[in-house]
């Protein structure tokens, strides 16, 4: 294939001195070696998996501070509040922050059987499932991963109404009490 036919036809007995015919076959092995070496280099440097992105829309800041914030009537049983704490601990409750007691704040984890089940269970028990709201309250001890994990749970459990809010003072107090105790 990589040979070139160098034999010229005819002229057999004309007695001329000819150079010895050499095959024009080229050894391709080093070229193939080089080719594959470069392929390996490009394979390793190529980034195939581009990172994904997740949408996060925050509410607009109220410019006029005197204007009372818009309030919507949400029944407590129609919501679940998730408080993210330190060391990957996560708590949830279904009360308003004023009626919250340490007993009502349950602890769970970020696993499939933990917070996901809690959200789904709360939604099934909600009075109006179309208005079921998840309130996400990351404390200052939470990490960015915790936040992304919870937002991810929102898309897994298909909870469309959710909001990221700062925890209230009452909730922080109770959270501190609970997080002081070791995890059960």
């Amino acid at each position: 294939m990589a040979e070139i036919d160098t034999s010229s036809g005819g002229g057999k007995g004309d007695g001329k001195v000819r150079a010895k015919k050499q095959s024009a076959r080229v050894d391709m092995t080093p070229m193939v070696d080089l080719g594959f070496l470069l392929i390996t280099f490009f394979v390793f440097t190529t980034t195939f998996s581009k990172p994904n992105m997740m949408k996060l829309n925050m509410p607009e800041k109220e410019k006029d501070e005197n204007k009372p914030p818009e309030t919507a009537e949400i029944k407590e049983s129609n919501t679940i509040t998730i408080i993210m704490g330190k060391d990957n601990r996560v708590f949830y409750h279904q009360k308003s922050s004023k009626n919250l007691t340490p007993e009502l704040l349950s602890e769970t984890d970020y696993s499939k059987d933990g917070i996901r089940t809690a959200i789904l269970k709360a939604r099934v028990n909600a009075i109006d499932q179309t208005k079921f709201t998840v309130v996400i309250k990351p404390t200052d001890d939470a990490t960015y991963k915790n936040t992304v994990d919870i937002l991810d749970e929102m898309s897994i459990t298909k909870s469309e109404l959710y909001a990221i809010v700062d925890p209230s003072k009452e909730e922080l107090d109770i959270y501190k009490q609970k997080s002081a105790a070791p995890k059960q």
Partner: protein, 200 residues
């Protein structure tokens, strides 16, 4: 009767076909490879089941490292010069065309605008060794917020803003960004995450 001998074949193999394949693959990889610019910080993002891919152009990225330092970068190299010029004007810093050329090579940076000029004048081999202090982002003076709003409102209004945080970044560092940008009426964010399979 002599035994029938199989015809001896020379062990030389024809490599041409293999060579063809090798170079075909090589040209494919050369054409598809996109070299990433030198990133000033390594960030290990958390993963999510989101399927949306990040666009290649028109993205501004805020990176937050585990210590809560902020870095900023825009994907389109051509718009970097304009952005620097506008920011320099706002902060009363003079920039030369050499500075702008040097800035266009930066995929991201984590230096206040006062220190940026000095950094840009360093030769590239020294730039790598500089430990960046992060872009200032306090509630009183947020340079990061100015960079973002200058880019999104003046240079490229259709651009998206992405936040790339490390998994171990503390939440207050993220909250600070959201607050500062909220003050500037930027409320739509994209969180950059790794890939994870959706649960069944």
């Amino acid at each position: 009767m002599p035994a029938v001998k199989p015809k001896r074949k020379s062990p030389v193999m024809d490599m041409t076909a293999m060579c063809d394949v090798a170079f075909l693959l090589l040209s494919f990889f050369i054409m598809t490879t996109q070299f990433k610019g030198q990133e000033s910080v390594t960030i290990d993002t958390p993963s999510s089941i989101s399927q949306t891919k990040i666009p290649e152009t028109g993205v501004a990225t805020i990176s937050i490292d585990p210590k809560g330092k902020y870095y900023f970068g825009i994907a389109d190299a051509k718009q970097r010069g304009e952005l620097l010029q506008r920011m320099a004007q706002k902060y009363g810093v003079s920039v030369t065309t050499t500075d702008m050329k040097s800035f266009e090579k930066l995929s991201d940076f984590g230096i206040s605008i006062a220190g940026l000029k000095q950094y840009l004048n360093l030769p590239p081999e020294d730039q790598i060794n500089v430990v960046m202090a992060g872009i200032p982002n306090d509630s009183t003076k947020s340079e990061l917020g100015d960079w973002v709003s200058t880019y999104l409102k003046e240079v490229n209004p259709s651009a998206k803003l992405a936040i790339r945080g490390d998994a171990s970044t503390n939440y207050p560092a993220v909250k600070q960004v959201l607050n500062e940008l909220g003050k500037r009426d930027i409320n739509k964010f994209q969180l950059i995450t790794g890939v994870e399979n959706a649960p069944n």
